[in-house]
Subunit: 324 residues, 2 copies
């Protein structure tokens, strides 16, 4: 990697690539990213930010000139409110990914890493394995988000297996925790508890089991796998990795950890049902043996990640204010 | 079913629905369909043809008013030439399917049958089962066509599992044979042999194993399954069926049958390799136990279907002339 193009640029990956001496072009519509997260990168001589949208293929193609690797992280990640704007997942996740691949083709860029999601496992047609391996049974999708990311994966694979690109790395993320992370359950719970410390509204019945990964561990994993070129000599140019911790927590337990850390005892108001929203998967726990076999492993447990996130939110109230 | 909307209308399904007394609105851009195939239907008082494209959502929504079932069959089915026009599969298969679902939502239409393809099985990450069951392992896509159809399936499932529609029937077709069928290997081979009876160019080495289904058997299957409402009381509103015959043929054997029927002995020119084109799956053979368990079974063998197709092409030279 000499010059990396990062879509959805407002994150630690940019800082980390720059620290390693790599030239980085960030591409972001800044729809959810906070420009302040790029304060450090913007001072760096090897960083350039181009503001643009993935639906604008000519601008995307022009911005990508001269790069040798693409991390395509930009996405609409708002899974629960998909039905409020059904076209958004199609456009920002599926069509956007197609455009990224077409821009790569136009520029002769041959390598890509893609942030997919454990949500692509949707629901299994037969009794599912847990933890879920990459070779789980062909699932049915249960959300527009999962469907749009699965479609993005399909496009990467078609380009790679069709010899249009050389290396396609698909990472199926669990939910991410950590600094700068302005959505997800820790952010939502913290925001509520700042507004009303005596009560907390919880989607579902609190029994949902979910896995999480700390953002810096995630960044390490992306770099570790793609730099080792696991797709170069493999049977398939498409390499798929579940990306998470080898554990999960119940929503209830996560709440207990948050309340203990904040020294609060709010009254819990559960909306009920075993799912947080329509299409929610009540048990997300990915088999991460494959990625761990490459030598990467997470440094933080889920609980440590939750506490890190909380401490950062406490120290950076402006993030919460900006999202009010 | 009282009033059925059929996208990709130029086929036997329209005739069959009309014969059963059902009102039919056909929606077709007539890009590959031959208007002559609708000669019969156009005389029928219960048939209306609306010419339009699936990318035109307002027109599609208006045309769908008052229907209670949608058969979404329109597609770009040109699998081998995907790389000549990469956006076509995205637009005509993925975005088109999204628009069909959105038009259904706007009109309160709750039931859909969708022609998907065995190509969605792409390549398995582990040693694949053959015949391929619906619960095969989560595959990687190998063609833009497979990726776009898989994306369409994901959208249907997301709408069904998200309670936007009640019944989603996904049929993973093998290749279709029979009258009115103006693409596929029988059409291609016949066209070549009319032009030069002494030689035949064959993609790959002829060892590819493929399964086929006769078009009238296919139409029966679509009606049989959807009328029995198998998705109504099932755990999932999305029901997936492989659709094919419980057999396969090698390309070589298919050629032998065609040559015998035409009384020709052309010199065979193989392009070589075990695949007909980049992304071709050299062995397509679907497990059809699930659909056969509903009581449907095919009437014609693959060989009978091949001969039927040939005889029809011989009697309808205009089809071949129109495609020259």
């Amino acid at each position: 990697m000499q010059h990396v193009f990062v879509t959805g640029a407002s994150g630690f990956l940019v800082d980390r690539l720059l620290a390693d001496g790599i030239t980085v072009t960030g591409w972001d519509n800044l729809s959810t990213g906070q420009i302040r997260f790029l304060d450090g990168a913007l001072q760096h001589p090897k960083f350039k930010l181009v503001r643009g949208d993935n639906l604008d293929l000519p601008a995307l193609t022009a911005a990508m000139k001269g790069v040798d690797f693409v991390f395509h992280l930009a996405a609409n990640a708002d899974i629960k409110d998909g039905w409020q704007h059904p076209r958004k997942d199609l456009e920002q996740n599926t069509i956007a990914t197609f455009n990224v691949l077409e821009a790569m083709r136009a520029n002769g860029v041959k390598r890509i890493g893609f942030s997919s999601t454990g949500s692509v496992y949707g629901e299994a047609l037969v009794t599912p394995e847990r933890p879920t391996p990459e070779t789980d049974t062909f699932p049915i999708q249960t959300s527009l988000y999962g469907a749009s990311k699965s479609a993005g994966e399909g496009l990467l694979a078609a380009y790679a297996e069709g010899n249009q690109i050389d290396e396609a790395y698909i990472f199926r993320f669990v939910s991410i925790l950590g600094e700068r992370y302005t959505h997800g359950h820790v952010f939502d719970f913290y925001k509520q508890l700042v507004e009303h410390p005596d009560r907390l509204r919880v989607l579902g019945d609190g029994s949902q089991r979910k896995s999480y990964l700390y953002v810096q561990d995630c960044v390490e994993a992306l770099l570790h796998v793609t730099r080792n070129h696991t797709a170069r000599d493999a049977k398939h140019h498409t390499q798929i990795y579940n990306l998470g911790t080898p554990e999960y927590v119940q929503v209830k337990d996560s709440i207990a950890a948050i309340c203990e850390a904040l020294n609060l005892s709010p009254k819990l108001e559960f909306t009920g049902g075993d799912r947080g929203w329509i299409g929610d998967n009540p048990f997300i726990y990915l088999d991460t043996k494959r990625i761990q076999s490459t030598g990467w492993k997470p440094k933080l447990t889920i609980r440590q990640g939750i506490i890190k996130t909380l401490r950062w939110l406490e120290a950076n109230r402006w993030v919460y204010e900006a999202r009010r």
